[in-house]
């Protein structure tokens, strides 16, 4: 259950619409299923009351949508940002991807979002409805009359289990109380892989990456991937392709994508959330983050606007590429 309620958010949005602060609202609405929440733009209070949703499945990070929406919307856009979303918000500002003046950001507290895969593992398939409003999540399936009651803590998404910060680093207005940066265990999994032998690592990643169907969902959701034209879509980049016609892209897509967002990735975890094949893509991004932290000092992308990312920075006594292997991780 989220501390802040849907009604509170609607009330806030409606008042900002009414007093003319904003002209539209970026929020969540129900998709095909109760757990399938999608981003939407709301223009009126009526629309909000009818379709606005706020529950444990509102994982979508809205930052990226601001890039296109600020160009289209007249006046300001109201955007609700969870603490983790604010980092992406700042990172996009650092990269001048949208006009800050066109956004009214409301920071909202978040108790962690649910992973539907974990819910299904407990409640089974055929979910017909989920009610997150009570202490426990009530999951009804088409097979049983009585809902399965689940403790939200048991189905937290991986990125929420390892939440790195409950602190909002950007907002115009904050609802509820702000939290702190958390000393999370998010690099433990990376360390575990690093501790494997090269053969084991290769087997692990071969197993994971071989499931990729190149649907581009990870790229399309990623708030760091806001390029006007992605290199993988650009016929002149020599790596363009969408199907396995060119084997390079099939194999290298994930390495290149992770490299392109290295130093810019805020570790929001959206890539892994949307991957239909459940590839732990965040483990690639976190490897870069972990390396950057240990090679060049702690750096959190998006923590402040205008910070110099590690890959566009250097010191004269940086570690040599050959030395990265001598750091005793294998």
């Amino acid at each position: 259950m989220q501390k802040i309620t849907r009604d509170q958010l609607i009330e806030k949005a409606a008042s900002l619409l009414a007093n003319g602060t904003v002209s539209c609202v970026l929020g969540w609405q129900k998709g095909e299923f109760d757990y399938d929440i999608t981003p939407a733009v709301f223009d009126t209070e009526d629309e909000l009351k009818a379709n606005f949703v706020w529950n444990d499945f509102c994982g979508a990070n809205f930052s990226k949508y601001l890039v296109s929406k600020t160009k289209k919307c007249e006046g300001k856009i109201l955007v609700f940002l969870k603490a983790c979303d604010t980092y992406s918000f700042n990172q996009l500002l650092t990269e001048h991807r949208f006009d800050r003046e066109k956004v009214y950001a409301v920071g909202i507290p978040c108790e962690g979002m649910a992973d539907i895969a974990k819910v299904k593992a407990i409640a089974g398939d055929g979910i017909s409805s989920i009610d997150c409003s009570g202490e426990k999540m009530a999951v009804t399936t088409i097979y049983e009359d009585a809902p399965v009651m689940i403790d939200a803590k048991d189905v937290l998404a991986e990125r929420c289990v390892n939440c790195k910060s409950k602190k909002h680093v950007a907002y115009d207005e904050l609802m509820g109380e702000d939290g702190d940066v958390i000393d999370s265990a998010r690099f433990d999994e990376v360390a575990k892989i690093e501790a494997m032998t090269p053969d084991e690592r290769f087997a692990f990643w071969q197993n994971e990456l071989s499931r990729c169907i190149r649907c581009n969902a990870c790229r399309d959701i990623c708030p760091a991937c806001t390029c006007e034209k992605c290199v993988f879509d650009n016929p002149n980049s020599s790596v363009e392709n969408k199907s396995p016609a060119n084997s390079f892209e099939e194999k290298m897509f994930h390495i290149i994508r992770a490299f392109h967002v290295a130093g810019r990735c805020t570790d929001c975890g959206e890539c892994s959330r949307v991957c239909p094949q459940h590839i732990p893509l965040h483990l690639l991004n976190r490897k870069f983050i972990k390396d950057i932290d240990s090679f060049y000092g702690d750096y959190q992308a998006g923590a402040e606007v205008g910070s110099r990312a590690p890959l566009v920075n250097y010191t004269t006594d940086d570690l040599e590429p050959g030395e990265v292997f001598e750091r005793g991780d294998n």
Binding site: V231, F248, M252, I255, K287, D291, D318, F325
Partner: protein, 144 residues
């Protein structure tokens, strides 16, 4: 069926100002190194996109080496410092994916270091040859 003798294929990216000149000096001094090494001239080591490195591997290269001016001596003042960070992260990632780390290398070779260039290439070619054909990057996608 004829079994082709395995010869490693090594792509060497050399910056125009130091390492390419170092390679020329190795030639001037007739310091030999394996013909498996093929040099591509770039203006600065910082021109080398990680994509080029991966592309070479994908197209069958067994080893990729980048050579640039020594840190502090970059013709463009700071290019090789960026190269150093980019490649440190890329190589670490390849290692993380289980690709043999001996297949990648960055070496700083000045225009005066013909002997170092030849020695580096001899050593690198030997290490890569010992690993054999580069299969892993090719196979990462396809589970056998």
């Amino acid at each position: 069926m004829q079994v082709k003798e395995y010869k490693p294929l090594i792509v060497a990216f050399c910056c125009n100002w130091c390492s390419y000149a170092g390679a020329d000096l190795a030639g001037n001094n007739r310091l030999s190194y394996p013909a498996d090494v093929k040099i591509i001239r770039v203006p600065c080591s910082c021109r080398v996109n990680p994509m080029f490195v991966l592309r070479a591997f994908q197209r069958g290269a067994d080893g990729v080496i980048l050579c640039g001016c020594h840190p502090g001596d970059c013709h463009y003042t700071s290019g090789n410092y960026y190269t150093r960070r980019r490649m440190a992260l890329l190589f670490s990632m390849l290692d993380y994916l289980g690709i043999e780390k001996e297949r990648t290398r960055v070496e700083w070779v000045s225009a005066a270091e013909g002997a170092k260039f030849a020695a580096t290439m001899n050593d690198f070619a030997e290490k890569v040859a010992a690993l054999g054909e580069n299969k892993r990057l090719e196979d990462l996608r396809c589970k056998r």
